[in-house]
Amino acid sequence: MRPVPEHGEASLALIDHIHPKALALGIDAQSAEQAISLLAERLEALGYVRSSYADAVVKREATMPTGLPLGRAVNVAIPHTDPEHVIRPGVALGVLSAPVDFANMEEPDELVPVGVVFLLAIDDKNKQIDMLQQIMEAIQDPDTLSGLTSARTAEEIRSLLG
């Protein structure tokens, strides 16, 4: 368990931004679009995003992809879209049973095999800096990433991102 800060506001860990029902392990997706749709459905059902969100993310992914090449067999993608489709901020996390290809953010002609998807609902960039930085820290830490890739239970994820 994470210790509760003694003074001031409790700082939120990354897992605190991920609703338990927005955490999906062992997803069977055949494509990036399927993985995004499945996670977007959960965010919509939980009231984080509007019904326009899923299509907007898929469309954006086609022109401005979000696959992040980490030089690993299993990499990460951070699909998201414009704030107008978001009701309140949050993250859906999907761990795929087998990687699917996302296009590389920096080199859209290249494909990146992705096994961990952070689907972001961002409505105000100035208020979500911590959340974004926590995701980057998780992505850049090899142990966390390996843990996410092999996690089988929500509890394992909780301990990695708590």
């Binding site: 954006r60 401005m64 979000t66 992040l68 090449p69 980490l70 030089g71 951070i78 998201h80 879209t81 414009d82 704030p83 953010m105 920096e106 080199e107 859209p108 972001l120 961002i122 960039k125 100035n126 979500q128 800096i129 974004l132 930085q133 995701i135 980057m136 992505i139 850049q140």
Partner: protein
């Protein structure tokens, strides 16, 4: 004192990855004793906004018509090549 330079952070939506990169670069440059003005934009807005900036840090491809230096920002998301990218930014800020 030299004029404070402006870095334009560009990404797909101008809200997510450019925010994370902006925060990382601001922190790292502060540690190197450098401050700058930061502006975030969508990659599609970069050509028009480049007029008022000294360099661009972009996580997505930006138009080749841009004449100010463009530094690739993906390193700040993946962690791979981060120090080299920071050195490049520092060199531009010290010009």
């Amino acid at each position: 004192m030299a004029r404070q330079k402006t870095i334009l952070f560009a990404c797909g939506t101008g809200v997510a990855t450019s925010t994370a990169v902006n925060a990382t670069v601001t922190e790292a440059m502060k540690a190197r004793g450098l401050t700058f003005n930061s502006v975030q934009c969508k990659a599609t807005e970069a050509p028009s906004m480049a007029e008022n900036a000294d360099l661009i840090v972009a996580t997505t491809p930006v138009s080749s018509s841009i004449t100010i230096p463009v530094i690739k920002g993906l390193a700040f998301l993946t962690g791979i090549g981060k120090d080299k990218a920071l050195d490049e930014i520092e060199a531009e800020l010290r010009k």
